[in-house]
Amino acid sequence: MLNVKIRKLFRSDAQPFVLDANVSFPPGFTVLFGPSGAGKSTLLDCIAGLQQPDSGEICLGEKVFFDAAGNLSLPPQRRELAYVFQSLALFPHLSVEQNIRYGLDRLAASEQTERANTAARNFRIEHLLSRRPAELSGGEKQRVALARALATSPRVLLLDEPLTGLDSSLRRSILEDLHAWNDANRIPILYVTHNREEVDAIGERIVTLVNGRVQETGTPRGVLDAPRTIELAQSAGFENVLPAVVVEHRPADGIMRVSLDHAACEIEIPLGEAEPGSEVRVAIRAGDILVATEPPHFLSARNILPGTIVSGETRGAMVALQVKAGTIFQVHVTPGAVRALDLSPGLLVWLVIKTHSCHLVR
């Protein structure tokens, strides 16, 4: 178990920023999730010993990495951890093999070779050992960075968006190799990502960080499907974060009614902790909204809003519609749906939103 309880103040920026984290990481994957600037990389840097917190302590089991009160801070060299940066930081003048062996220089030569070969095999880069980083593709570089990190047999693994920029099949294949390694070694792995797909693929546990503070801890579904703050809602892929005012509570129905955008329209959302009259925000995924071209009947969905399509934009395998139904809603549909329903700007439509697709955020 890696226990982190630290505080660090940054005064240099225009707005002072405080990283104030109190969180534990058990063996296995923990996703660190949050908007950019939330302090995720700073937290990893503090754990690695590349930055010093102002106060608090960091320990891995019995081993103390940092203790402000005891005036103790182990240098990065002695923390026995591995850290893959977003930039990967492969040494450009060394071959792949030299990169992997760089962290093994205290071992006997035969042991170095064996460890380097094992790491190369685990991440399927045996055929690349004599190449320089400049001669590798993006995915190969990421594999080399992981192999170099894990060859050292670390006791903690820090991964700062190690798979950004890869297509999803490549990402999945590398994640599978990482999972296999994790099953065999079971050390705390901190995985920073913005990518919802990676979060779902990694799965075990998630810690969300917003404005330097740990906001929530739990499973990805529990935390990300019902985000409780606006920053988190935005980075968890909730395209609609709408200002709203609570109109009334209906405890018998398990709902409350809120009005959107200065009473332009009203919808039902699950009953939450907000008094009537208070200002809140409602987060809805663009993909959770249905579009009908006639008034739908016989549905369990409670929110059916008439509106007009304002614009449509094709983005890869989906079409992003903007629909004015009181307020502007972002709605994602498939190109097939656009063709079948002949969806185009100016068309009158009905938006269908399930009550439980609406999330109250602070």
Binding site: G49, L50, P76, Q77, Y83, A89, F91, Y102, G103, T152
Partner: protein, 224 residues
Amino acid sequence: MNTEALLLSFRLAATVSLFLLVLALPLAYVISFFQWRGKFLVESVVALPLVLPPTVLGFYALLAMGPHGLLGKIWQSLFGHPLAFTFTGLVLASMLYSLPFAVQPLVASFESLDRRLLDASAILGADRARTFLRIILPLAWPGVLTALVLSFAHTLGEFGVVLMVGGNLPGITRTVSIDIYDRVQALDYAAAHQTALLLLLISFVVLSIVYGVNRRVWSPWPAK
């Protein structure tokens, strides 16, 4: 052409640039990778020879090395002979004079390194020395080459400092630039021309090499 003076100049320039590299590497390392309160003072001292007239520098170097100067006294008691007007004295003064030309290219190349590479090296267990030898030096080699070449070229062409500290002793301190000056004073323009042209060519070739290798030679203290 005065080959004796030319060879002396080359010997001086080679000695100075090598010793200077030994001095400038740790200095540039400290300036690039450490933050401390009085750092700007060290940076100013290192850059001082850039703006100071060589005669001023030479004058104070002469005072320090003279029989009443601190350096001169220490030298006298250690080696039994004075320091001023010797080749060694010339080397010391020239090192001071060319210091910024060795330190600044090194600092520029050190500071342009990706800090995450140094972080990665530390995380992988390498101490400062290993990081320096295995990562910093190999990646900063254009800066090292530039430092060597520039301090060599700069020393080769110096005049004021040599005149003040070295005087004009054939084979000991009469360098090529002094020789050219003497020839012109004696109205022997042909001989002055030969040597001057050679120096011009050498300087041009040297600078071409430096610019070919590294385009950031003249960047002053780089922006951080």
